[in-house]
């Protein structure tokens, strides 16, 4: 990881931990209560044993009763505390997911230029879910690892200052030792990091490509290579673990040393009393010693918890890097503008000297385009592949903005409009419409959720969806999309057309809508599209001659000029 990345990670972590720490506060407080109860329990135990030892008599039952009650409370406290930690993790993840959703929606379709949709989905789901450990375990542990031992220490100090001193010294040595070994582990892991990541992902990668491997008769060789890689991974991982385990051994050492020292020193103490002739049985120190001994595990438990949660922290780094890609450019949040529902009248679209290039260092896709499309006109965008037909459609969609020049809707510059406002003017049909998981009806109503049955029926008829409706097991209520009934490309395109009918927007943008269809299906689709185009302002790009025949004027991107009439 480079220095820049580390800074980035640190910043992100700081930014995330503020609210997350507040959310973790109840869990930390409950942990404190738990420690106080544990102190009480230890005191009860010590007092009971002391009484038996001193009087050689049966202890009264009340301390045992108190001990039992404290245990019950502690058990309850544990349940509530774990739930509180889980809730903190859930709240933090939910908050984070909302902010990522905000960015994704704010950046909008432009994001798909930079990232694969699978990556975006992984960012929304897995990258955030994996942070559960960070929010629910690491944060509370990191907030309480000083506080809780101090509570135990204070209690021990009150009764047994000597033991408290021993524990304090041993406890303080743990972070020091951990820092030393931790740095070692970090150094070791930095050298191994890239190699390990490659080796770890190798398995997933090979399983994904298993068809390719099997069909190339390479499965035997690949299995051997996989085995070698796993062995290599093990050796590298163990190199790191060898150092990392030293840091947890530090806790063991400190704990054992503390126990032995307490027993030894307090033993002396008792001996001295004995030799000076004072009755051992009367000394109060036995209780104090027992009390200290019983609290030793409690004292070290938070340190152990921190060490266990340490690996959860590493996930934050990965998430930070992934989320960083989203930081820039979210200009629109999930706020919904009011008044978006009212219908919009006919629109004339004007291009005024539009130029565009994807990046500063790349050549212009096109320069100084001028065109006007009035209602009822169909503008065919012409040009070789890569001449920027799709780019022009995306500009009109408002997904991107021209580098210079203006796009005017009824004389209004679209740059002054928000993306969602631009979207109200238009319906768009691309090469491959996305079908969402859900019923066909839900997929159609996506364009206008408040449409009534009549409007829906009209759209279904106009887009000729009724032609394949009988083939679907449950008609309009058939599940389609991811995991549902598979629609063919032509059928999916009809869904897109029906959506456009439902939306009933004055501007229709068609980006190679028949590019992936066979000729017969294309013919049918064009029929429906022609019907849809009637009376609207249409901009269309297509290679298909039949499609282009619909046009009333042509814009040639290679020449940057509009020619009238049929192309």
């Amino acid at each position: 990881m480079s220095a820049v990345d580390k800074k980035l990670v640190r910043n992100w972590v700081r930014q995330q931990s503020g609210p997350a720490k507040r959310a973790a506060l109840p869990a930390v407080l409950l942990a404190c209560v738990g420690t106080i109860l544990a102190i009480g329990q230890a005191w009860c135990l010590a007092a009971i044993i002391d009484r038996v030892a001193r009087d050689r008599a049966a202890p009264s039952l009340s301390p045992i009763g108190i001990f039992a009650v404290l245990s019950l409370f502690r058990a309850g406290c544990m349940i509530v505390q774990e739930q509180a930690a889980a809730r903190a993790g859930i709240r933090a993840r939910a908050r984070l997911r909302r902010s990522v959703l905000d960015s994704v929606i704010g950046i909008g379709p432009a994001l798909l230029r930079r990232q694969h949709s699978g990556e975006i989905a992984a960012l929304l789901v897995d990258r955030i879910e994996v942070l559960d450990g960070y929010f629910a375990r690491w944060l509370p542990a990191s907030m309480s690892w000083v506080l809780l031992p101090c509570l135990s220490l204070a209690a021990i100090f009150w009764f047994n200052p000597r033991a408290a001193l021993i524990l304090a010294v041993c406890g303080a040595l743990v972070p020091v030792a951990q820092a030393v070994f931790g740095i070692g582990a970090a150094l070791a892991s930095r050298n191994q990091f890239l190699a390990m990541v490659r080796l770890q992902s190798r398995f997933l990668d090979r399983i994904r490509g298993i068809a390719t491997i099997v069909l190339a008769n390479a499965d035997g060789r690949e299995a051997e290579a996989l085995s070698r890689a796993a062995d290599e991974l093990r050796r590298r991982t163990m190199k790191i673990l060898r150092v990392a385990f030293l840091s947890s051994a530090a806790i063991d050492i400190a704990m054992v040393v503390a126990i032995i020292l307490i027993v030894l020193t307090q033993g002396h103490f008792l001996h001295r009393h004995e030799t000076s002739g004072i009755s051992v049985h009367a000394t109060p120190d036995f209780t104090a010693t027992l009390f200290a001994l019983l609290l030793v595990p409690e004292f070290f438990a938070p340190l152990r918890g921190l060490a266990l949660a340490y690996q959860d922290r590493a996930h934050a780094a990965g998430a930070a890097e992934a989320m960083h890609a989203l930081e820039h450019g979210g200009d629109e949040g999930i706020v919904d503008g009011a008044g978006m529902a009212e219908a919009i009248g006919p629109v004339t679209v004007e291009g005024d000297a539009i130029s565009y290039r994807w990046r500063e260092d790349l050549p212009f896709v096109f320069e100084a385009l001028d065109f006007t499309v009035a209602p009822g006109d169909i503008l065919v965008v012409d040009g070789a592949s890569g001449a920027g037909k799709s780019t022009l459609i995306e500009l009109l969609l408002g997904f991107i903005h021209p580098v210079s020049g203006r796009i005017l809707f009824n004389g209004r510059d679209t740059r002054a409009m928000r993306g969602r406002e631009i979207a109200r003017y238009l319906a768009w049909i691309g090469q491959r419409p996305v079908l969402f998981a859900g019923t066909l009806r839900e997929n159609l109503l996506f364009a206008r959720p408040d449409a009534d049955d009549e409007a829906l029926d009209a759209a279904v008829r106009a887009a000729a969806i009724d032609s394949f409706l009988p083939l679907l097991p449950k008609g309009l209520d058939t599940e389609i999309g991811e995991g549902g009934f598979g629609l063919s490309g032509g059928q999916a395109q009809r869904v897109a057309i029906a959506r456009a009918f439902l939306k009933d927007a004055p501007l229709l943008l068609l980006d190679e809508p028949t590019a992936h269809l066979d000729p017969d299906t294309e013919r049918d689709i064009i029929e429906s599209l022609a019907c849809l185009a009637e009376g609207r302002t249409v901009v269309l790009s297509s290679h298909s001659p039949a499609m282009r025949a619909l046009g009333t004027q042509t814009l040639s991107l290679s020449h940057g000029a509009v020619t009238g009439g049929h192309p």
Binding site: I48, I64, L72, G118, E222, A249, F286, P297, A447, G486
Partner: protein
């Protein structure tokens, strides 16, 4: 949209299948029994030294309190032993586990490769494969988090019972009973109780994933139709459902943990009562204090087991899915030994085929993903006849889902026809050696995978005996040699995951070069250019025309671009071929 978890399988059946799966996995670990066992032994010794330390500490202090002399030497020995043993145990157990996991992965890979995996690849069940890999990773927990603590419990039990029993046999019985409850009964109960919870969490997770993917792929639609809020709303809804399920599972874990803790505390109370001489029990002070310390340590050692019980449901599910999915084997009747001819006509004679309706995720009651529609599929090929002459360039056209890829799967013997016969150069392919047949047929498709590896390894796929010149030759033919030359590391440049450091067209050309390296007389091109933008697609098809001269070419596509040079073409309709005029 997701069907609720329906208990179609009975509980005993599930338990039985889980045990069967676990047995199989433990068998895979056989070569590592020694190491795994040694790890367990070390962990047991570390545990015992821990007990000895705490018991000794308590006893020493009490002895002092009573004025009896005691030796502190033992304390130091136990303390030192505990530290060293703990460290050694961690190292050894982890090392052994990594070895065992590596073996498990290789075993899984081999089984998958021999089984129906290639078929899965054809059906683009990438998500299913991802999940299976996750399952293999989940099995990490089996040894370290389940086997090791369970052994600890097995060792702790006799220690506790004997030490307590020496004082009073009734005490031994009582503590032993409580310990069994904490170490065995509670984990078992929570495992049984939470197996349903694991399902709920899994389902909620996959629903969330679908919703997120919908938003990500549908960003354009969402903007164009102002549907962002609705899609985001669905994500948040699914997230809430998932988090509720997680919270429920967490509660189950917390309650189990607390109950296990209470068992330990009850044991302590019984000890205290015994020391007080109640219930006719009489516990001497010395062993009493030692026992108090010992009991605390012993019960703490198994406190994690109750929680692990919740996890066990998930691990069991993972084990089932892995063993059962990778166990789907091909029909062995199609395994022949004959050497296929160099080349020849390919004839499909009266072939009927349908994808089987498998339970794609064994162990799950719900059928998910793209496989849901696999149930009760109609035949994709219905008594199909087709002859492809050697050397011809032919195309099979049709919308997706009509069975074009099934043809490829049948020819490559990834699937078997229900009836009918396929022959290559006059031999029924069932009689031909599968590996050699696949050596005759080069396969290039949009799903051809580019591995996260160097370009060289992507080309050779592990064959070490290929001359460098030959590699450059095929790169040249695929018209990608220049690009590779300009890369800083040349042939040894790393291709990112899924080939992401190359553009779509470049990646496809590398895949083409790999196919060319096989130098197969027959080329099966399954939508080779799909997913590329139209300019790149055209250029790629031109390259294909050039390099395919002199071979039999079967092009499978949903449409023709006009850039293909063909001798014949058919449209696939209702499971049969219809000749297309060219």
């Amino acid at each position: 949209m997701m069907s609720e978890h329906s208990p179609t399988r009975t509980e005993p059946d599930r338990v039985h299948r889980t045990l069967e799966a676990l047995r199989m996995i433990v068998t895979v670990w056989r070569p590592y029994y020694g190491r795994l066992g040694f790890g367990l032994l070390l962990s047991a010794l570390a545990l015992l030294s821990g007990f000895a330390l705490m018991w000794n500490a308590g006893a020493s202090v009490s002895a002092l309190a009573l004025g009896a002399g005691t030796s502190f030497g033992l304390l130091r020995v136990f303390g030192g032993a505990r530290i060293v043993l703990r460290y050694a145990e961690r190292l050894f157990a982890h090392d052994a586990m990594f070895r065992a996991l590596a073996a498990l992965r290789v075993w899984f890979f081999r089984r998958l490769a021999q089984g129906a995996a290639a078929g899965l690849g054809f059906r683009r069940a990438g998500d299913l494969l991802n999940r299976l890999v996750g399952d293999v990773e989940l099995l990490d927990n089996l040894y370290l988090r389940i086997a090791v603590p369970f052994l600890a419990a097995l060792i702790s039990l006799p220690v506790l019972v004997i030490v307590a029993g020496l004082a009073d046999w009734r005490l031994g019985l009582a503590l032993g009973g409580l310990f069994l409850a904490a170490a065995c009964l509670l984990p078992l109960l929570s495992a049984l109780r939470s197996s349903g919870l694991s399902h709920t969490v899994l389902h909620a997770e996959s629903a969330l994933r679908v919703a997120a993917l919908d938003l990500a792929t549908g960003l354009r639609e969402a903007r164009a139709f102002s549907g962002e809020l609705r899609l985001a709303g669905r994500i948040i809804e699914d997230e809430t459902r998932l988090h509720e399920a997680q919270l429920q599972r967490n509660r189950a874990m917390a309650v189990s943990g607390a109950l296990s803790y209470l068992c330990g505390q009850t044991a302590l109370v019984i000890l205290l009562l015994a020391m007080a001489g109640l219930g006719g029990l009489n516990l001497p002070l010395l062993s009493g204090v030692g026992l108090v310390f010992l009991t605390g340590t012993v019960f703490e050692g198994v406190s994690a087991l109750a929680r692990t019980g919740v996890l066990a449901g998930q691990v069991g599910l993972a084990a089932r899915r892995i063993t059962e999915t990778s166990g789907e084997r091909m029909d062995e009747s199609g395994e022949g030994q004959c050497r296929p001819p160099e080349t020849g006509d390919i004839v499909f004679n009266d072939v009927t085929f349908r994808w089987a309706a498998p339970d794609p995720v064994p162990g799950e009651d719900m059928v998910e993903g793209a496989d849901r529609m696999a149930i009760a599929r109609p035949p994709v090929l219905d008594r199909l006849d087709l002859t492809i002459h050697a050397g011809d360039h032919v195309a099979l056209i049709g919308p997706s889902g009509v069975g074009k890829s099934s043809l490829a799967a049948l020819l490559l013997k990834v699937a078997q026809p229900e009836s009918g016969e396929i022959s290559f150069g006059g031999h029924d392919i069932r009689t031909l050696d599968t590996a050699q047949l696949r050596g005759r047929i080069g396969w290039l498709s949009q799903t051809t995978h580019l591995f996260a590896d160097t370009i060289r390894n992507n080309l050779t796929l592990g064959r070490g005996n290929i001359a460098e010149d030959r590699l450059w030759d095929v790169l040249e033919q695929a018209e990608i040699a220049e690009v590779v030359q300009e890369l800083p590391d040349g042939l040894d440049s790393w291709v990112g995951e899924g080939g992401t450091r190359l553009s779509g067209g470049q990646g496809r050309r590398i895949a083409l070069a790999r196919t060319l390296l096989l130098d197969a007389p027959v080329m099966l091109l399954d939508e080779p250019a799909t997913g590329l933008d139209s300019a790149t697609e055209r250029a790629f098809l031109h390259t294909l025309n050039r390099v395919m001269r002199g071979r039999t070419v079967i092009l499978i596509a949903h449409r023709l671009t006009g850039a293909e040079k063909l001798d014949r073409a058919w449209r696939l309709e209702a499971g049969r071929t219809v000749p297309l005029p060219l």
